[in-house]
Structure formats: structure tokens, C-alpha cells
């Protein structure tokens, strides 16, 4: 066999992104097993990972993790390029854009819960637009807006709290072990 002339050396950052994306994909697949009363209302547990990555490693990595999760998650669930895939992709892109803005809100006042709720609203907003324009070209889709909005608040708060708790415990763990032992290879930590 000819030796490949192309050698890809994953950087520390690549490994970190892959690890976080893997966690997000696991949550996506696990969530798909939960029976839900209404199509489109999902807890979006994978977004917890996005929120944690956003707070710890910045927006660029959150984008990588979130989009990798959408692509790999849909491949695993057999949804790739199906309507559901485009709905999650549009939702993910919109939430990432909103998160990019929301992360600059004063940290003293706005925490992961705010980020989570705002992202959830961006998510349903983009999905509704895609659904209205492409999948259900009728204003009837808007009949479900109040339900989606309620779900966005509820799951936004829950996901935000879980992300906040994880961040808190990661910070405690880091403080206890001096420098982050578990993530010792990640030397370049963005200043907070």
C-alpha cells in the first residue's frame, strides 16, 4: 500500500472539539429515544454541551461542536438530508448566531440560562421560518407557536441550569487540581 502523502495531525483543539461533539451526539441519539407528544418539541439536551463549550472555549468551538453534532447526529439517526435535518441545521445556525451576540451580554447579569433561552427562541424561530417557507406553506404552522415558545422557555431554563451547574463544577474541579488536570492538554484557555 502506498503511504499517504497527506498527513493530518489533529491539534489539541481538534481533539477537544471531537470530544465535546461526541458528547453532544450521544445526547442527540439518547434524546431521539424519548417519546414526545408533539413533533418539533424536543428538550435539545445536546445544546447543554454547546453552552458549556461556548462559555469555556469560545464561539468558534461552539460552532464546530454544534454543527458536527447536527451532521453526525442526523447520519446516525438516518435523518441526513431529510426535512428534519434541515430544520435542525437552520435552528442550530440561528442559535449559534444569537449565542454569538448573547455571549457579549454582561456576565454579571446574564448567565447560561439567558444564553440557553435566547438560543432556544432563535432555534424555533428559524425552524418556523423554514417550515413555513418550505415544508408547510400555510400559516397553520404558526398555530403551534405558543406551544413552541413555552417549550423554549421550559427547556431553555432546564438546559441553561444544567450547563451552569456543569460549568460551576468544572471550575471547582479546576481550582482543586491546580490547573485543569483532565484537560491538561488544553493549555490555551481564552481569557474570561
Amino acid at each position: 500500500m502506498t503511504r499517504s502523502t497527506i498527513e493530518l495531525t489533529p491539534t489539541v483543539e481538534d481533539r477537544r472539539i471531537a470530544r465535546h461533539a461526541a458528547a453532544a451526539i450521544v445526547l442527540t441519539v439518547a434524546e431521539a429515544a424519548i417519546p414526545l407528544p408533539l413533533p418539533g418539541v424536543k428538550p435539545g439536551l445536546a445544546n447543554i454541551v454547546t453552552l458549556v463549550v461556548l462559555a469555556r472555549w469560545g464561539w468558534r468551538e461552539a460552532v464546530w461542536v454544534s454543527l458536527l453534532r447536527v451532521f453526525a447526529g442526523s447520519l446516525l439517526l438516518g435523518q441526513f438530508l431529510a426535512p428534519g435535518f434541515f430544520l435542525s441545521l437552520s435552528g442550530a445556525i440561528a442559535s449559534l448566531l444569537v449565542l454569538g451576540l448573547a455571549m457579549h451580554l454582561p456576565k454579571r447579569w446574564f448567565g447560561p440560562v439567558s444564553h440557553s433561552i435566547l438560543a432556544a427562541f432563535a432555534h424555533i424561530g428559524a425552524q418556523l421560518v423554514v417550515a413555513r417557507v418550505w415544508l408547510v406553506p400555510h400559516d397553520g404552522v404558526f398555530y403551534l407557536v405558543p406551544v413552541f415558545a413555552a417549550a423554549a422557555v421550559l427547556f431553555g431554563v432546564v438546559n441553561g441550569l444544567v450547563a451552569g451547574r456543569l460549568l460551576q463544577e468544572l471550575a471547582i474541579e479546576e481550582a482543586a487540581t491546580g490547573s485543569a488536570e483532565r484537560e491538561s492538554e488544553c493549555v490555551v484557555k481564552p481569557p474570561n
Binding site: 451580554l105 454579571r108 447579569w109 446574564f110 440560562v113 433561552i117 407557536v145 405558543p146 415558545a149 441553561g160
Partner: protein, 129 residues
């Protein structure tokens, strides 16, 4: 009110409460906006193509509409209206029952009487049979 344990509550910063409140307001607002849009607010009764009566749907009343075959009886109740009786042979407009969506129409063609509910956000402009 749901009791949140203190260690979880500590994760909520002041602005977070604000965002939660804004989210809930949006829920209620969209609920009002999207779920009451089809509610009718008035009724127009036509006879022989001309407007015979216009009424709001706030209180119950009955309107007797004369036509070529006889009298069509329109009944109005808060939020809905129907043709209660009609001299027409097939009774289509009577059997349609109560109309309660904006834009809904009952037409008693033989007696040349029609009933239409008006309102914001009607589902359709007109109906053809």
C-alpha cells in the same frame, strides 16, 4: 410557585430572570395572537345581494330576513351565529349549524339569504360551493 433548591437558584443571575419573564410574556402574547385570530366579531346578513343587517356577536338575538320564498330566521349568540330556519327545500344552510370562525359563510340560495362572520384574521376570504 416551584421551589428551586438554593444551589440551583444561585445559577440564575438577575438578567436571567428578566429573560425568563420576557420569554413567558412572549408565550402569552403569541398565545393570544395566534389562538384567538379566528374568533369572529360580527355578522353580516345579506338578502337578495344587499346587506340586510349587520350585527356584533356580543349578545344573543334573532333576525328575521324576508326572501322570495318566505322568512329565513338567523340566530345569533355570543361568538357564533346560525341559520335557525329557512324555507328552502334542501336546508343546506340550516344543517351547516353554528358558524364560529371568522370568514365562515352560510348561504340559503333559494331564499337568497346569506350569512357571513366577519373578524380579524379570517381563515378565508370567501367560499365557493
Amino acid at each position: 410557585m416551584i421551589r428551586i433548591p438554593a444551589d440551583w437558584r444561585a445559577l440564575l443571575r438577575p438578567g436571567d430572570w428578566l429573560v425568563i419573564a420576557a420569554g413567558l410574556v412572549l408565550c402569552v402574547y403569541s398565545g393570544i395572537g395566534f389562538w384567538t385570530a379566528g374568533a369572529p366579531d360580527g355578522v353580516i346578513v345579506r338578502a337578495g345581494g344587499k346587506v340586510f343587517a349587520e350585527a356584533d356577536l356580543s349578545r344573543a338575538r334573532r333576525i328575521e330576513v324576508p326572501g322570495p320564498l318566505g322568512t329565513t330566521l338567523v340566530e345569533i349568540e355570543p361568538g357564533r351565529a346560525r341559520v335557525a330556519a329557512d324555507p328552502g327545500p334542501r336546508q343546506y344552510c340550516v344543517r351547516q349549524g353554528w358558524l364560529d370562525r371568522a370568514g365562515a359563510v352560510a348561504i340559503c340560495a333559494p331564499n337568497q339569504v346569506s350569512l357571513i362572520l366577519t373578524g380579524r384574521g379570517a381563515d378565508y376570504d370567501s367560499l365557493n360551493y
